[in-house]
C-alpha cells in the first residue's frame, strides 16, 4: 500500500468517517429487521402452533430415568439391586392447598411425621412444579385405597418407581456405600461436569463407596419421551421415544461369603479387615466394623436413626479400613528388617544382647521392650519371630529417619493406595522435612527410636498395610488394589476384564526376602507371637503381630491390660499372607482395643484364611435380607 504523504484533509476524514457511521446505522437497522422478521414469524405466522404447545403444554418432554446398574460380587451374588415399588407423589403447584391435601391424604394412607419432615425438606430444595414423593413403598392395599379416591386429589399421583436395595445391609455398607437424593451441591457438581442433562428426572446419585466412585458407569443414559398431554397434564399419546440405556453392572473382586466369614470372625470387636489377592491386587474382603444399614440413607435418613449413627461411640459411619489411621506398631518390623538388610546395617547373623530396654548414647532415657528383662541374644530372624523391640530401636537409630522414609515409602506407606474408592486417607510416614514443615521443629533422635517399632508419628490405614503386605507376599510386585473386576455393559457380556499388570516391581536381594518370609512364617509356629492362631494349619502362614498404643505410658509405668479401661486398651494388629510359599491371599486385621495381636487379631485372620484356602465355614452364614423373595 502506498504511503500517504499528503497533508491530512480533516473535512475529508470526517466525511469518510460519517459515511461509515451511516453504513453502520444501515447495518443496525437491517439486523433489527431480521429480528423483527423472526418475531413476526414466531408470534404471528406460527403463533397458533406455539400457542397450542404452550397453552395446553401439549407436548411435554419427559425424561425416562435409566435403570441403575447392579453390583455383584465375584461369584455373581447380588449386593445392590433395584426393585419396583409405589410412591405417592405430590406436585405442590397443582394442588389446591398443600397442607389441606396432605391432611386429607393422611386419612387414607399412613403419613408419619418423619415423612412430612422429609417432604418439607425436599420442597425447600426443589421447585414446586416438580413431582415430589411424600410416601414411598406403599402397600398394595394403600395403592387401592388411594386409587378409589384419586378424583379428590388434584396434583397427587401414584408412581411406580425403582428403588435401590442393599440386601446384605451392614455387611457391605463401607464398601458399596449408598445412593441418596440429589441435593443442591450434587446439582452444582453435575452442572460443572456438564452432566446435568443426563440427570434430568433422576432423583438419586451415588453418595459414598462404589456407588459414588462408579457413578458414571452405574447411572446409565437418560431416555427422552415426547408425550402429548391433555389439559390436566396426563399423558395421552407418546409421539417419539428415545429409550434410556441402563447403567452398567459391576462385578466386584469381593467374595461376599469371605466377607461374611470375616464379619463373623470379629465377634464383638470393632475394627477392620482387608484381604487382597497379591497376584493381581483384587480386594477379596473389605470389612469395617461396625457397619450401618445403607438402606436407611436411600430415601433420606430420618433424624432419629441419623443421630443414633452419628453419636454412637462406635462411630459406625467411619470407614476404618479406608480412612482409619493407626500407628502400625510391630507390623512394621518385617519391612524394617528388609530396610536394615538393604542398607547393610544388619547382617542376617548379627546378634544383639537384649537387656529389655534401649538407651540412646549419652542419655539415660530407657526405651523399653515389651518383655521385661529382654529376650537375651537376638538375631534378625528371632527379632521378627518374638517381635523384639530393642533390636529395632537400635536398627532405626542406625538407619536414620530419612532412610526409613525412603525405604518404607516404596511399600506405599504414607501415600494413598489408589484403590477405586473416594476419601482414602494417606496415613503418615514421617521424615525430617515433614516435621520441619508440620511443626517447625527439628527431628530428634528419640523420634527415630519410636518410629523403629511403628510408634510415634507413624500412621497407616488398614488398606495401606494390606497393600504393603501384598507387595511383600508377591516378592515386590505392586498391583494397585481395586474392587471392581469387570464392568458389564448392559445387554452384552462386555469386554473381558483387562489383563492386569503390576504398577511397579521392587527389587530385593532374594536371600533377604527369603529370610524375612521365613521369619514371618515362624511367627505362627510354636515359639512365635501368633503360635496359637497358627496351630494345626495345613498350610504355612507368614504373619506378623502388632499392637498400636492408644494411650502412652509414662517412664517406669507399667501397662496391665486388665487394669485399663476397654476403650483405652491397645489396638491389635495382624498382617499375614498364605500359603507362605505361594501366597494366594494377603490380609490385615485390626481389632480396636483388642490388646495383643497374637491373641485377638491373629485368630480372626486364621478363620478367614481357613475359609478362603480350605473352604471351611466356621458356622452357618446368615442369609441376605429378602433373599428368599423374588426380585427383578
Amino acid at each position: 500500500m502506498k504511503r500517504r504523504v499528503e497533508l491530512k484533509n480533516i473535512q475529508r476524514e470526517i466525511y469518510h468517517f460519517r459515511l461509515r457511521l451511516v453504513l453502520s446505522l444501515g447495518f443496525v437497522l437491517f439486523m433489527l429487521l431480521v429480528l423483527l422478521a423472526r418475531f413476526v414469524y414466531l408470534q404471528v405466522v406460527k403463533h397458533s402452533h406455539y400457542q397450542t404447545l404452550a397453552e395446553n403444554n401439549r407436548i411435554s418432554v419427559v425424561p425416562i430415568v435409566p435403570n441403575r446398574g447392579l453390583i455383584l460380587d465375584r461369584n455373581g451374588v447380588v449386593l445392590a439391586h433395584n426393585y419396583s415399588g409405589y410412591t405417592l407423589e405430590i406436585t405442590p403447584s397443582k394442588t389446591g392447598g398443600l397442607e389441606a391435601t396432605i391432611e386429607q391424604l393422611a386419612q387414607i394412607v399412613e403419613i408419619q411425621p418423619k415423612d412430612r419432615k422429609r417432604f418439607k425438606k425436599l420442597l425447600a430444595e426443589r421447585h414446586d412444579f416438580e413431582s415430589l414423593p411424600i410416601r414411598t413403598r406403599l402397600s398394595d392395599e394403600e395403592v387401592a385405597r388411594f386409587a378409589a379416591q384419586r378424583y379428590r386429589f388434584p396434583g397427587v399421583e401414584i408412581k411406580a418407581r425403582l428403588f435401590r436395595e442393599y440386601p446384605y445391609r451392614e455387611l457391605t455398607s463401607h464398601l458399596i456405600g449408598y445412593i441418596g437424593r440429589i441435593n443442591e451441591s450434587d446439582i452444582q457438581q453435575l452442572e460443572e461436569d456438564d452432566r446435568a442433562a443426563n440427570y434430568r428426572g433422576s432423583d438419586y446419585i451415588g453418595k459414598t463407596g462404589i456407588e459414588q466412585s462408579y457413578e458414571n458407569e452405574l447411572h446409565g443414559k437418560t431416555g427422552i419421551e415426547q408425550v402429548e398431554v391433555d389439559a390436566g397434564g396426563r399423558g395421552v399419546r407418546v409421539l417419539s421415544r428415545t429409550p434410556p440405556v441402563s447403567g452398567n453392572d459391576l462385578v466386584l473382586t469381593l467374595d461376599a461369603k469371605l466377607q461374611q466369614v470375616a464379619e463373623q470372625a470379629f465377634g464383638n470387636y470393632r475394627g477392620a479387615l482387608v484381604a487382597i489377592d497379591p497376584n493381581n491386587g483384587e480386594v477379596l474382603a473389605f470389612v469395617s466394623r461396625p457397619g450401618y444399614d445403607p438402606n436407611l440413607f436411600v430415601d433420606g435418613i430420618d433424624e432419629q436413626s441419623w443421630s443414633e449413627l452419628n453419636n454412637s461411640p462406635d462411630v459406625p459411619l467411619n470407614n476404618r479400613a479406608l480412612r482409619g489411621q493407626y500407628p502400625p506398631g510391630s507390623t512394621i518390623k518385617p519391612f524394617m528388617a528388609l530396610a536394615g538388610l538393604h542398607y547393610n546395617k544388619r547382617a542376617p547373623g548379627y546378634t544383639i544382647s537384649d537387656p529389655g530396654y534401649y538407651t540412646l548414647p549419652g542419655s539415660s532415657h530407657q526405651y523399653r521392650d515389651w518383655k521385661k528383662g529382654g529376650h537375651g541374644s537376638v538375631d534378625l530372624f528371632k527379632s521378627v519371630v518374638i517381635s523384639c523391640d530393642t533390636y529395632y530401636y537400635g536398627l532405626a537409630t542406625e538407619l536414620g529417619i530419612d532412610n526409613m522414609h525412603a525405604y518404607l515409602s516404596r511399600f506405599g506407606f504414607g501415600k494413598k493406595t489408589g484403590i477405586d474408592l473416594e476419601g482414602e486417607a494417606a496415613g503418615l510416614l514421617p521424615s525430617q522435612e515433614w516435621k520441619q514443615k508440620r511443626y517447625q521443629q527439628k527431628w530428634y533422635a528419640g523420634d527415630t527410636v519410636s518410629a523403629g517399632i511403628g510408634q510415634g508419628y507413624d500412621l497407616v490405614t488398614p488398606m495401606q498395610l494390606a497393600y504393603a503386605t501384598a507387595i511383600l507376599a508377591n516378592d515386590g510386585a505392586g498391583y494397585r488394589p481395586h474392587l471392581v473386576r469387570q464392568v458389564q455393559h448392559a445387554g452384552s457380556n462386555g469386554p473381558a476384564a483387562p489383563e492386569i499388570r503390576p504398577d511397579f516391581e521392587l527389587k530385593f536381594n532374594p536371600e533377604h526376602l527369603a529370610l524375612v518370609k521365613r521369619a514371618m512364617t515362624a511367627v505362627t509356629q510354636p515359639g512365635g507371637t501368633a503360635a496359637g492362631a497358627g496351630a494345626g494349619a495345613p498350610y504355612g502362614i507368614a504373619g506378623k503381630t502388632g499392637t498400636a498404643q492408644v494411650v502412652g505410658m509414662k517412664q517406669g509405668e507399667q501397662y496391665i491390660e486388665s487394669q485399663v479401661q476397654e476403650r483405652l486398651r491397645d489396638h491389635a494388629w495382624f498382617i499375614a499372607f498364605a500359603p507362605a510359599d505361594k501366597p494366594k491371599i494377603a490380609l490385615v486385621v485390626l481389632a480396636e482395643n483388642g490388646g495383643h495381636g497374637g491373641s485377638t487379631a491373629a485368630p480372626i485372620a486364621r478363620k478367614v484364611l481357613d475359609y478362603y484356602l480350605l473352604g471351611k465355614v466356621p458356622q452357618p452364614l446368615p442369609a441376605a435380607a429378602g433373599e428368599e423373595e423374588e426380585h427383578d
Binding site: S24, L36, R38, L42, Q43, D194
Partner: protein, 369 residues
C-alpha cells in the same frame, strides 16, 4: 443571597456532564428490566431490590466517568489494557474453575472476571493507538491494532467464554471499521475467515460445537442445551401479537425455563408483552443507539469518534446476540440482554461505556463554548 443560589448551582454542576436524553432512554430500559425481573423471579422482591442496588452502583460509576475529562480517559487506555492482559494471563495460569470454565481470578479479597474489564479496555486501547498514529496511518497500524484485539480474544476464547470473546471481537472490529480499514482488506479477511472456519471449528470445545450444532436441530438435545432454545422459542411464539399480559406468562411461571432472570429474560418479556412489546423494546434500543450515533458523529477527535462508535455498536451487538439466541437464530453463547438481564457486572460495564459517551459529548461542548 449566596445561599439561595448555592443549591441550584450545585445541581447544575451535578448534571453538567449528564446527557439527559440518553439517560432517560437508559432509565426506561432499566425500569423495564426491573419490571420483567419481578415477573421472571416469581415476585422475588429481594432479587429485584438487589438488581436496583446494582443499577444505582452502575449509575454512580456512569456519573463519575461522565465527569472525567477526555485526556484523562485516554491516558488510562494503556495501563488498563496492560492490567487486563496481566489478569487474563493470571486467569489462564491460576484461575478458578467454575462451571467447567476458567474465568475467575481469586485475589484473596475478592474474585474477579478480567474478561469483563476487557470489554471496555480493548476498544479503548485500540482507539488510543489509532489516535497516536492518526497522522501517518498505514496498513501496518491496522495490523498492530488487530493484534491488540486478537491477544485478549484468544485468551478469553480459551477459558472458554465464547460469548465474551464474540462481544470483544465485535467491539474491536467496529474500531477497525470506523478507523477506516480499507474495503479491500475487509474483503480479503472475509474470504480468509470463511476459509479458516474448519480450522476454528476444530479448535472449539466440544460443548461449544454442541451448542452451534444444536442450533440447527434443537430437538436432538431436548433435555440439555436444546431445551433452552425450544422453551425460549415456545415462550416467544406463544406470546402472539399482544402477549399474555404481565405476570401471566405460562411458560415462565409453570415450566422450567432455565436462566429466565438472566440470559433468557427476553423470553419472559416477549411471552408477556408479545410482538407489540418487542417493537417497543426494539424501539427503545434503537433510540439509545441513534443517540449514540449522534454523539459519535459530533465527536471532536479521532479517539472519541472511534470510542463512541464502538461503544454504541457493541451495545447493539449485545442486544442482537441475546435476542437472537433466545429466538433460535444464534447459538446459545451466554450474553445477557443489556440493561434488562439480572446481574451487576454487565450493568456496570454497560453504564461505564455510556458514561464515556456522555463525557465525550459534554466535554466537547465545553470546549466549543
Amino acid at each position: 443571597m449566596i445561599r439561595q443560589r448555592l443549591w441550584p448551582r450545585l445541581w447544575k454542576r451535578f448534571i453538567l456532564h449528564i446527557d439527559p436524553v440518553l439517560l432517560a432512554a437508559l432509565g426506561l430500559l432499566m425500569l423495564t428490566g426491573l419490571a420483567v425481573l419481578y415477573s421472571a423471579s416469581d415476585g422475588d422482591w429481594g432479587r429485584v431490590l438487589r438488581q436496583a442496588g446494582n443499577m444505582l452502583v452502575a449509575l454512580g460509576i456512569l456519573w463519575l466517568v461522565a465527569n472525567l475529562p477526555l485526556h484523562y480517559l485516554m491516558r488510562t487506555a494503556l495501563p488498563v489494557y496492560l492490567l487486563g492482559m496481566v489478569l487474563l494471563a493470571g486467569v489462564a495460569l491460576f484461575g478458578e474453575i467454575s462451571h467447567g470454565a476458567r474465568r475467575w481470578l481469586n485475589l484473596g479479597v475478592m474474585t474477579i472476571q478480567p474478561s469483563e474489564l476487557m470489554k471496555i479496555a480493548v476498544p479503548l486501547m485500540m482507539a488510543w493507538y489509532f489516535e497516536k498514529h492518526e497522522a501517518t496511518l498505514t496498513l501496518k497500524n491496522y495490523f498492530v491494532a488487530a493484534l491488540l484485539l486478537l491477544m485478549p480474544v484468544l485468551l478469553i476464547a480459551r477459558q472458554p467464554d465464547l460469548g465474551t470473546a464474540i462481544l470483544i471481537s465485535a467491539s474491536g472490529f467496529y474500531v477497525l471499521f470506523l478507523a477506516g480499514l480499507s474495503w479491500r482488506v475487509m474483503g480479503v479477511l472475509l474470504v480468509a475467515g470463511l476459509g479458516s472456519l474448519p480450522v476454528l471449528w476444530s479448535m472449539l470445545h466440544e460443548y461449544q460445537r454442541h451448542r452451534i450444532l444444536m442450533l440447527f436441530d434443537p430437538a436432538q438435545d431436548a433435555l440439555g442445551k436444546g431445551y433452552h432454545t425450544i422453551q425460549g422459542t415456545i415462550a416467544v411464539g406463544s406470546g402472539g401479537v399482544l402477549g399474555k399480559g404481565y405476570l401471566n406468562g405460562t411458560q415462565t411461571h409453570l415450566d422450567f425455563l432455565p436462566e429466565r432472570t438472566t440470559d433468557f429474560i427476553f423470553a419472559v418479556y416477549s411471552e408477556e408483552f408479545g410482538l407489540l412489546g418487542n417493537l417497543i423494546l426494539l424501539g427503545m434500543y434503537l433510540f439509545v443507539i441513534a443517540r449514540g450515533f449522534i454523539i459519535t458523529a459530533d465527536a471532536s477527535t479521532y479517539f472519541t469518534r472511534l470510542m463512541a462508535g464502538s461503544i454504541t455498536l457493541t451495545f447493539f451487538t449485545y442486544a442482537f446476540v441475546n435476542m437472537g439466541m433466545v429466538i433460535g437464530i444464534l447459538p446459545v453463547v451466554g450474553v445477557p440482554l443489556p440493561l434488562v438481564s439480572y446481574g451487576g457486572t454487565s450493568m456496570v460495564t454497560l453504564l461505564l461505556g455510556f458514561g464515556m459517551l456522555m463525557s465525550i459529548h459534554t466535554h466537547k461542548k465545553l470546549v466549543q463554548t
